[in-house]
């Protein structure tokens, strides 16, 4: 016999608590938005352009000395950071003047200074044109995903479902973006992946709940909408929690054992999936109450799918 992690007769009244939940989530969203607009993002070189070198020195690296040596060589800010072990250093150099050519000149200067005694584990130089493209593509991808999901849900369910899921998804995306802004995590290509995974994962949970609402709308024609939504959320609660747990477990595996690059990649996805799961349960379905589901469309129309 398997363990009943969520008892099957769970009956949490999500709908009655929706105003408190909405208030909390709106507050969180406002904090995230505030941080994004005031503090902004710590852009990685993908989006800002610049140089990035990951080096391994033969002994523990003297970061202070390296920093002052390198700062004299190039323009703008140079940041150094220990990366995983005392022998590994991550060097970031701001976008250099003189476009792509200036960038490469600076890279050669740094390499000449560091000499042959260090192992170059990674060297990246991204020019201004490329970073503009990458950031534009990132924005397109996120907006495109949101629109595509809206259309899909609209097509498979009804427009009210589409609108509610879009609000939920935008909220989830905002939380992940807020995480990057508030904690100053490096905002790069992987951040876009994190946002998109969050969105796709959240829509997944939402769809499962909506599926059940649609089914119950057909089954219980007399039930009040509030009770029906509550029932549907509770019926799918076990699945929602279980699936999120398996996904979070694999992500935690990546976070703790995958090394610094994979860890940085999985952390925002973990937060995003948590946010997506919570918002799917507490927002996407209760929000339908405000959409005049039955008055607008009539049950017959809703039952077609």
């Amino acid at each position: 016999m398997g363990l009943h992690i969520i008892p099957y007769d769970t009956k949490i009244n999500f709908v009655s608590k929706k105003n408190i939940i909405f208030a909390i989530l709106i507050a969180v969203a406002v904090i995230c938005l505030g941080s994004i607009f005031t503090k902004g993002f710590t852009y990685g070189i993908d989006f800002k352009g610049g140089l990035l070198l990951e080096i391994r020195t033969s002994g523990p690296a003297d970061i202070g000395k390296l920093r002052s040596e390198l700062s004299d060589l190039v323009q703008g800010e140079v940041t150094l950071q220990e990366f995983g072990s005392p022998n590994d250093v991550l060097i970031r150099v701001e976008q250099q003047p003189g476009g792509d050519a200036g960038q490469l000149v600076a890279l050669n200067k740094i390499k000449a200074k560091l000499g042959t005694g260090v192992e170059y584990r990674k060297v990246e130089s991204v020019g201004p044109k490329v970073s503009e493209d990458l950031i534009r593509n990132g924005i397109y991808a996120i907006i495109g995903a949101l629109v595509a999901m809206l259309i899909y849900i609209w097509f498979r369910f009804e427009w009210q479902f589409g609108v509610c899921s879009l609000i939920t998804l935008a909220h989830d995306a905002l939380i992940v973006l807020g995480l990057f802004s508030i904690f100053g995590l490096e905002f790069n290509e992987n951040a876009i992946i994190a946002v998109l995974i969050t969105v796709t994962y959240s829509i997944n949970d939402t769809v499962v709940i909506y599926d059940r609402i649609r089914e119950n709308l057909r089954k219980f024609k007399k039930m009040t909408l509030a009770n029906l939504i509550n029932l549907s959320i509770n019926e799918t609660l076990s699945r929602t929690i279980l699936t999120s747990t398996t996904t979070l477990l694999s992500l935690l595996g990546l976070y703790f054992f995958g090394g610094p690059v994979i860890a940085a990649f999985s952390l925002p996805i973990i937060v995003g999936i948590l946010a997506g799961t919570i918002s799917s349960i507490t927002v996407s379905a209760p929000l339908l109450l405000h959409m005049h589901l039955r008055e607008d469309n009539g049950l017959e129309k809703l039952s077609k799918g």
Binding site: A141, A145, L196, I197, I262, F265
Partner: protein, 519 residues
């Protein structure tokens, strides 16, 4: 007994066996695979540059330079065409994207227009009554020209990279003005960059020794070009007219002269040999210059006619320089300069570390998911875990067969897929539990569980695929790797989590004939 048609059983088992077969080459070394029978699949997963180490260069074709050159040659054409017919003009100038001139006699307007038009049909001519002409290329011609410049650049890049003996380079057009060059295993792309940074336009032109060449001076009909000679820079007036260019070369090889100095031996094609023969025969005692990218490499006196189309360049090179130059001559000139706008290199150490930590983390992730599934659903969890194993095997097979590239985010994608793939089983199992609670009999509960969960599974997986498809469309290299593994994993999970688990369940029921379900 759960009824599954025979063809479906055979298909399900067949797909799993094929998956095993096509995934298996990844567990052998290349050498071992060589000794396997010829029918045995041999393609392995391609590792991205971030995992195997190597250099990634994104080059941009400098179309501004192309345009400048185009306008200069358009101005040249107008000059020679009008001079030939003795039509007077003033103020001939090449601008950014057009050429202007003013005819001395506005009556020549129509004649001049038709002359130019007949020389080059792609030129659009607009004119004012005072005899002012504006020449530009029409849109279609420009587009065609851009396309051919890009295609030609890619071809030359490919030749140069191949000539350098790089293992399995990957060269591809990106957008409409960029070339992506990926060089697995390459540690320091400095030499490649230097080699790709030269257009390597080779020209043979006469030197006008009567002109006192000074840098910065402009003399009609000649270019003042520099030459490095014995550590000093001297300048010569080189006639604009080109006797021969690199296009007529058929071979160039590094070698040594009788004093053991590095030289380059070259050979013209038959047309080039004839032109070179004529030019040298008629100009004994003159000086000609071998010009590479507007620098003189060598400017010898013509002592005897060179009729066999062979020659050598002694430019005081080092061995490496001679080799590189010969390579550039062989590979041909780039139609436009290429500017590196993005460069990423990953050392083999980091690549190996990434694979190791990625593998380790993925295995732990899978074990945790498997343990959890077993705790949550006991026997049904075990079946789901078997499905996950086959999901991974089929994913490996699909990655090998399609030659998709596995990147570090791709490895993370595999782990994430595992977490998401069991979702289908969670949905099915929860449904079965529910149907049992609603009082259905065991077999009909299983059937209903699978059937009812189906729409939900398809809906939820399709939305995921939409998101991942957008990632692929807009993402760069490593991101695409993530999109590829995730989407393949999800598609495969629809098969393993549904068809395969149902088959295993049917066998188990036929074998044990249970009275209740251990779920």
């Amino acid at each position: 007994m759960l009824y599954i048609p025979l063809w479906k059983k055979i298909l399900t088992i067949g797909i799993c066996l094929l998956g095993l077969l096509f995934a298996s080459p990844n567990f052998f070394t290349r050498e071992q695979l060589e000794n396997f029978p010829s029918w045995y699949p041999k393609s392995q997963i391609t590792l991205g540059l971030d995992l195997q180490g190597g250099a990634h260069l994104l080059l941009e074709v400098d179309f501004d330079a192309v345009q400048k050159e185009q306008m200069a040659s358009l101005a040249d054409m107008a000059r020679t065409t009008l001079r030939k017919e003795r039509i007077g003009y003033t103020g001939l100038a090449a601008k950014k994207d057009f050429v202007t001139l003013t005819l001395r006699n506005p009556a020549d307007l129509e004649k001049a227009k038709s002359l130019i038009h007949n020389t080059d049909k792609d030129v659009e001519i607009t004119s004012a009554a005072e005899g002012q002409l504006t020449l530009r290329f029409d849109e279609a011609a420009l587009r065609t020209r851009r396309k051919s410049v890009l295609a030609q650049s890619i071809e030359i890049v490919r030749r140069r990279v191949d000539e350098m003996g790089t293992a399995e380079p990957f060269i591809q057009q990106q957008g409409d003005d960029r070339i992506l060059v990926q060089l697995p295993g390459m540690q320091d792309p400095a030499r490649i960059k230097a080699m790709l940074g030269k257009t390597a336009k080779l020209q043979f032109r006469f030197v006008d020794m009567s002109i006192n060449a000074e840098p910065g001076k402009t003399v009609p009909g000649v270019d003042i070009l520099p030459e490095e000679r014995d550590g000093k820079t001297i300048y010569l007036a080189v006639k604009k007219q080109i006797i021969l260019s690199g296009e007529n070369l058929v071979d160039a090889q590094p070698g040594f002269d009788e004093y053991n100095r590095p030289i380059i031996n070259f050979k013209f094609d038959s047309l080039g040999a004839k032109k070179f023969g004529d030019a040298t025969k008629n100009n004994i005692g003159q000086v000609f210059a071998i010009v590479l990218d507007d620098k003189i490499i060598m400017a010898p006196h013509i002592q005897t006619p060179i009729l066999d189309g062979r020659g050598m360049i002694t430019g005081g090179f080092s061995v490496q320089q001679a080799q590189d130059l010969a390579l550039l001559m062989r590979a041909g000139a780039l139609p436009a300069p290429l500017n590196p706008i993005e460069e990423r290199t990953v050392g083999p150490g980091l690549g190996a570390d990434s694979i190791a930590s990625g593998e380790y983390a993925t295995i732990i992730a899978i074990l945790m998911v498997a343990a959890f599934m077993f705790i949550a659903y006991s026997f049904f969890g075990a079946i789901a875990n078997i499905a996950v194993v086959f999901n991974l095997i089929l994913l490996f097979a699909a990655l090998s067969v399609t030659h998709a590239t596995l990147t570090l985010p791709g490895i993370a994608g595999i782990a994430l897929t595992v977490g998401m793939a069991v979702d289908a089983n969670v949905l099915i199992n929860e449904r079965i539990k529910e149907e049992l609670r609603n009082g259905r009999k065991m077999l009909s509960a299983i059937d209903a569980g699978y059937n009812r969960a189906m729409t939900t599974i398809i809906d939820s997986n399709l939305t995921t695929l939409i998101g991942v498809a957008l990632l692929y469309y807009f993402g760069a290299g490593p991101t695409r790797g993530f999109a590829v593994t995730t989407s393949l994993g999800i598609i495969i999970s629809m098969f393993t989590a549904i068809s395969l688990t149902k088959l295993i369940l049917a066998w188990w029921i036929g074998w044990r004939r249970p009275t209740h379900l251990p779920i």
